[in-house]
Symmetry: C2
Subunit: 331 residues, 2 copies
């Protein structure tokens, strides 16, 4: 018995020692400048994780939801998934000679974004369906991975996955280190994000929520496959984000992170729960290192959301002021 | 430096010591009789978790999916959720005098199951919609919890949550102790299961997949609510289970557990993946301690699934032979 007691005592001493060392060497949120924003994040986390805090939240209920486009990675001059769709259209064009004379494909093949946009939402939908459907789910995963491995952003000439925000990566890690479960809740396609979310964000596929097209179960040579259909299944934006959080998580988040009006309902839903809640909006204010846009932007419009954030004193990241470094690939 | 080395060495010694002690005192799957079934489960788990095994699977990919009705808890003489629906109909009847003369409600109020079933699927759907819709999601959660706290099974006079299978609870724990993520994939309603799955099965709401009705986002007195609508959103059975696994998990499971033909596609999908896979069917063979039914049963029909399980040498639990104890509440 004495041996066990001694060993147990040593065990806790060693644990305490290691804990101390780690606490000393790991600076959380190191790409965030000191200031109100960083302080608000840390204060919120401390008050929900400290066992003696009146705002303590059990680990199982520490759900944090993140928009993707414009919140975890950039979204200008257009959503990165649209670059993917246009590249696919060009690749598939030889099999579709009719596209040369049919909109929105003719515009797409000429790289004429204005021509596409003139067709409205239906045009975008046509392009997404033509480029995202018709293959099995496993084939699509390979297509996405292959594209991301080589495609470059037209302005920065960087891989798109090098345009994730370093401060947000640190925020995701910081939350997870405090036993939060981090989810993506994106207007983008769920199957466009899952193939790389674990590697890039540390978020496994089952914690990615997004828009989706229908899939059909088929038996091929005795084995089941799922085939992607050219029909919208769910559009994960605005109210849709709340519905999807409810359907897929089934528990109200305690923290929500977004950057546009499309995230407003998600932030409202999160903050309407009882107990300590946190809502954060990323405001794109850095026209030199990234882009500056808000109320007038067609991509990532941030107008009603900005009004609400100001009225409710939600945390607003001023990218120019708050972020030491923007992209994960920045030095 | 010398102190750190000594402390580190001691740390690992202590860890090894504690590991040894735990291994000695914890007997996994203690309600399973010794035999082929238990052995197959343990062999599968060992080969995917041992780091030096050719079948090793990283923890993040250890996804296990479980049907609920008839696999984790009983389902006779009818799905427990139907008892809930009928009780709700009786409770709501005073507000609906027209139900006395309208089917399937008139039959439901008389407790005439044959009368209900005569109306086919539409009758069941009518009863589910009338009993499961019209309230907010938070109100519904309370209704489910309240009902489960007092409602008794007509044959056993037990709480329904006391009719979960003890050997399956141990199996869930055993898998989680080996870093599996355990999911429910049920034909039953997702919101009927989530209020109690964490407490009873140790499965958090975000790992519960099931059938669902539509919900609508509304602002009430400045706060968002989700209101349950009388319209089916998704029916999570047969091919639907595979579609839902794909949409909500986004990763093919390596182990699947079911009891009826409704689970067949899920087991096919799971076993069609590369690497080590495990499929298990619970066969209800114990007419004394539980119920005995398979090919001819209207609830939990197990016919095509049984043929496939035999043809593919999947693991089949013979409840009578393999389970020392059936229900969690059994002595």
């Amino acid at each position: 018995m004495k041996t066990i007691q001694t060993m147990t005592l040593l065990f806790f001493l060693v644990l305490a020692f290691i804990g101390q060392t780690m606490a000393d060497t790991t600076e959380p949120l190191s790409s965030w400048n000191q200031g109100k924003t960083k302080q608000q994040i840390i204060e919120f986390v401390n008050k929900v994780v400290m066992a003696d805090s009146p705002d303590f939240v059990p680990a199982a209920e520490r759900i944090a939801v993140f928009d993707n486009d414009g919140t975890l990675w950039a979204e200008q001059p257009m959503y990165f998934q649209l670059f993917f769709a246009l590249d696919r259209i060009k690749q598939l064009a030889p099999e579709h000679p009719e596209w040369n004379t049919t909109e929105p494909f003719a515009s797409a093949l000429k790289g004429d974004m204005k021509g596409i946009i003139a067709g409205g939402e239906q045009a975008i939908l046509d392009i997404v369906m033509a480029s995202h459907a018709g293959m099995t789910t496993e084939e699509f995963e390979v297509i996405v991975k292959d594209w991301l491995a080589t495609a470059k952003h037209p302005d920065t000439q960087r891989l798109f996955t090098d345009m994730v925000y370093q401060p947000m990566l640190e925020l995701l890690s910081y939350l997870r280190a405090n036993d939060f479960k981090t989810f993506i809740v994106s207007g983008g396609g769920i199957e466009f994000i899952r193939p790389w979310s674990e590697q890039v964000y540390g978020i496994p596929p089952e914690q990615v929520i997004g828009s989706s097209i229908k899939v059909a179960f088929e038996m091929r040579e005795g084995a089941p496959v799922l085939v992607r259909q050219p029909a919208l299944d769910f559009y994960d934006d605005k109210e849709g984000k709340v519905v999807a959080i409810h359907q897929q998580i089934g528990r109200r988040p305690i923290a929500a992170f977004g950057n546009s009006d499309g995230d407003l309902q998600m932030l409202q839903w999160t903050t309407a729960g009882q107990g300590a809640r946190f809502a954060l909006y990323v405001h794109h204010t850095d026209e030199k290192r990234e882009w500056a846009y808000d109320r007038e932007s067609s991509i990532g419009k941030f107008d009603k959301g900005l009004d609400q954030a100001l009225a409710k004193s939600w945390t607003i990241v001023d990218m120019k002021q708050d972020w030491k470094r923007i992209f994960s690939a920045d030095k």
